[in-house]
């Protein structure tokens, strides 16, 4: 495990509550995401884990009727402070979704460069380097280097998902959020994405939402278990899965519900 005692704090939620109208999807969650680690959020469907993730880059508030209470601290700065621009914030926090979402009108190259271009014009050689670096990080470079100008839709599902990872990491965010990134992939594709998780945590702080417990056990350093919107237990992944402290956690990881 990479996590060590002197890991610098990067991201933290403090008494975070997320609402859809009157429904409290996330209830008073305080959770720390140490830098350069992978934190997995697990729990049954509807437990609020995706909503919690979407609060971390202020995507939650884009849903009509959604609201947030409490704080999300990024380097001790609350990202919900009025002087924080959510657009600038989202450029610091990359996100990968359940299903691959390549931009259908763009080539592979333009997809990866999309997040860079939105930050202002850059000279082509600089873009070329950034695109190549991002594709290397997403372990996709070897497969697409000869067809960067072809449509991103010609890639397989697993390749598209890695393309989305490349697109998310190209602007060099500090944090990478992944919402069930392997939910729509076959086992081979899943394995490649999981391997990437280990490689990428050297560069980014990763938060991954999954309802696949084996996946959480394989890829994460820390695991948080959520149920009905509340954080039930959080701890080092090896400890949480072998010696859970809370009855509900044990019931969930042993498959008695969820």
């Amino acid at each position: 495990m990479v996590a060590s005692a002197n890991t610098r704090l990067r991201l933290e939620t403090s008494h975070l509550t997320a609402m859809f109208g009157q429904h409290r999807a996330v209830r008073d969650v305080s959770l720390l995401f140490p830098a350069h680690t992978v934190t997995a959020i697990i729990g049954p469907s509807g437990c609020g884990k995706s909503t919690l993730l979407r609060c971390l880059n202020r995507m939650h508030e884009l849903t009509p009727g959604a609201s947030v209470d409490g704080e999300v601290l990024l380097d001790n700065k609350n990202i919900y402070d009025p002087d924080v621009n959510p657009i600038g914030l989202r450029r610091r926090i990359g996100m990968v979704f359940q299903r691959p979402t390549p931009f259908p009108t763009m080539s592979i190259y333009d997809n990866v460069a999309a997040g860079l271009k939105v930050n202002g014009r850059r000279p082509r050689p600089e873009l070329d380097d950034a695109v190549a670096r991002a594709l290397h990080q997403a372990a996709l470079w070897e497969e697409v280097k000869d067809r960067l100008e072809t449509s991103a839709l010609d890639l397989s599902g697993g390749q598209q998902q890695r393309l989305c990872i490349a697109r998310a990491v190209a602007p060099q965010p500090e944090i990478l959020l992944r919402d069930e990134p392997t939910a729509s992939l076959d086992p081979a594709g899943t394995q490649r994405i999981e391997e990437l998780c280990h490689a990428l945590k050297r560069l980014y702080t990763i938060v991954i939402v999954t309802h696949n417990m084996q996946q959480a056990a394989r890829v994460s350093d820390y695991t948080a278990f959520m149920y009905l919107g509340s954080l039930i237990e959080v701890g080092r992944t090896d400890e949480l899965f072998t010696k859970p402290k809370v009855e509900q956690t044990e019931a969930y990881i042993t498959g008695r519900f969820g």
Partner: protein
């Protein structure tokens, strides 16, 4: 049951076949080089063409598209991206009412607001009438096309730090582009055949003109004049004009079809 459906479909297609067949049978023989290059000759003489009407149609419809496409597509984008509230509902309702308004009524509107104040008929007034007809059609088709773009694409762009307006333009509109262009072409093809709103706006003109401030001939007006006239020669030219107009509309529709088959810009 299947047989019934097949018979009904054939009946629908039959109408098109009969129209096109009739037009070709009666009109094709009158189409020659002169037909496309010369203006009408005085009644009683033979020869002459409808060059003025063909160019006039292009101008009147072209100007109508210049006015109608930005407004219609803009309204459609608004409805799809921001039209959730009360104003969106209102705009959508008005567009639907306008869509069902008889075209001759739209012609009267253009006459009241443009022809009467300027006290002369003009191609521009005709274009405005056609634009008013196009706008609700384009707004609704654009809205439908933009709504087809998966929500996940918007989210992906926003998560990358795209501002909302840029997401709408760069990602959503581009993804829906082939559908929007098709909608525009279909709208243009529909108004290209309109006659009623042009009767008291563009009026018609037997001479060749490029001045949009003057009355201008269009194919539909030419057909109306020739078909209701007393001369066999005119009837002949009316059939030929109808064939050309039909061909024009067909070409626009086929272009629309071809565009939707383009690889880039397809909607998933």
């Amino acid at each position: 049951m299947t047989a019934l459906v097949v018979i009904l479909s054939f009946t629908a297609v039959l109408a098109l076949v009969l129209i096109l067949g009739n037009l070709i049978a009666k009109g094709a023989s009158s189409i020659d080089w002169n037909f496309f290059t010369r203006s009408p000759v005085p009644a009683g003489q033979s020869g002459g063409g409808v060059a003025n009407a063909i160019v006039g149609t292009a101008i009147v419809v072209g100007v109508a598209a210049l006015i109608g496409v930005p407004i219609g597509v803009g309204a459609g984008m608004y409805l799809a991206e921001y039209g959730g509230g009360r104003l969106g509902y209102l705009v959508r309702f008005i567009a639907d009412v306008l869509n069902g308004t008889p075209s001759i009524v739209v012609g009267i509107v253009a006459w009241t607001f443009i022809v009467k104040p300027t006290s002369h008929f003009s191609a521009l007034a005709g274009s405005v009438a056609l634009a008013i007809l196009m706008i609700p059609m384009l707004a609704r088709t654009t809205e439908e096309m933009v709504r087809l773009v998966p929500h996940s694409l918007r989210e992906a762009a926003l998560a990358l730090g795209y501002p909302r307006w840029r997401t709408s333009l760069k990602i959503v509109a581009r993804t829906a582009m082939s559908g929007i262009v098709t909608g525009c072409l279909v709208g243009i093809a529909r108004v290209a055949g309109e006659t009623a709103p042009l009767l008291f706006t563009a009026l018609g003109n037997l001479n060749f003109t490029l001045n949009v401030n003057q009355p201008m001939q269009t194919l539909s007006l030419q057909i109306y004049v020739y078909a209701t006239g007393p001369f066999d020669e005119w009837h002949r030219l009316a059939w030929a004009s109808a064939l050309v107009l039909m061909g024009l509309v067909l070409i626009i529709s086929l272009t629309a079809r071809w565009l939707t088959r383009q690889r880039y810009g397809r909607v998933r």
